[in-house]
Amino acid sequence: MAKRKAPEVNAGSMADIAFLLLIFFLVTTTIETDSGINRKLPPMEDQIDPPIIREKNIFTVVVNKNNQLLVEESLTDIKDLRGLAMDFLDNGGGSGEEACDYCQGERDPRSSDNPDKAIISLKNDRETEYKVYIAVQNELVAAYNELRNREFARLNPNLGISYVEADLIYSDPRTSSDDKASLKEKLDVVKLLYPQKLSEAEPSKVN
């Protein structure tokens, strides 16, 4: 028998196969970015003498094990939390050196002196559900953001963006460094007007 040459395999469809694979990987690649609420934990070392804070400058929020909300010692619905927190932060009840000239609150002497002094204290139970805790955190951050938006719009009337949008642009890696520098200045000013002072107590143990 004569030796027959093996027929050559046609490689013309190789490109098609490779394209198919390529498209598969292109489609399945999800460059998703997570998002969430950023928080900073306090460092571990104990403060030797904690600063004295007047009762009226503290806004207490307690979430109990049944996911009920106690704001300033009264049972509250979460819908009202944002408004209450904003009223408290924006109160500006101080006088003299502690006065707050940009606050638009009621200047109630029983509530906070100025946003720099105002502290929101959040306490939860070990049995509190995480989703409720996140909802509360969300509303408190929202209160700060709304006030910051207002001040940002007042200080930069012709910029046409809000504080939150500006912060988004600032943290976008595609923003040029010049824009970043000018935005950072504006953001820092507003951050100083309404500093986020959110303190979390260690949760109570259930007996």
Binding site: T29, D34, P42, I78, T128, E129, I134
Partner: protein, 160 residues
């Protein structure tokens, strides 16, 4: 003057497509390498709570992930229904969180070690107790930047 006969115009020589597979393969390899499928298999239920005041968590190389929640149905027989912490591909106890964070931190590039964020991906039905424990552990190892990863949505979705 037959010597200078012009070539017949009209039939252009076909461009060789022999190198096309090579080019495509090159692209293919690029995408295969660049695709990060580092999502470790979830062993816990992980329905994130909703929030709308969120900040993006860019730059994945600066993030350490910690998962927590009830073990998913496959693991209920072995691990029960109590909420557990998942570190990489296995369940861990609260005491292991600190060591895990330190190990992850040591594995990162040196210039990133001070700017790391810990992302907590916690199931929405988890009780706060375990999260407080994690937070205490994070404070002990000085990993203070924290992100509660959420899905984007109105907070009222958390109540039902």
């Amino acid at each position: 003057m037959a010597k200078f006969n012009k070539k017949k115009s009209g039939d252009l020589p076909a461009i060789s497509t022999a190198s096309l597979p090579d080019i495509v393969f090159m692209l293919l390899f690029f995408f295969m390498v660049a695709t990060v499928m580092r999502d470790s298999t979830l062993m816990v239920q992980n329905t994130l709570p909703a929030a709308d005041q969120v900040q993006k968590l860019d730059k994945k190389d600066r993030v350490i992930y910690i998962y927590a929640g009830k073990p998913s149905s496959r693991y209920v027989d072995t691990y029960g229904t109590q909420a557990r912490i998942q570190l990489n591909d296995k369940f861990g106890s609260v005491e292991e969180v600190g060591a895990f964070v330190l190990a992850e931190r040591a594995a990162k590039r040196e210039e990133l070690q001070n700017v790391l964020t810990t992302a907590l991906k916690v199931d929405s039905d988890t009780k706060m107790g375990i999260i407080s424990d994690i937070k205490q552990e994070l404070r002990k190892v000085n990993a203070l930047k924290l992100n509660y990863t959420t899905r984007v949505g109105d907070y009222t979705q958390n109540f039902n």
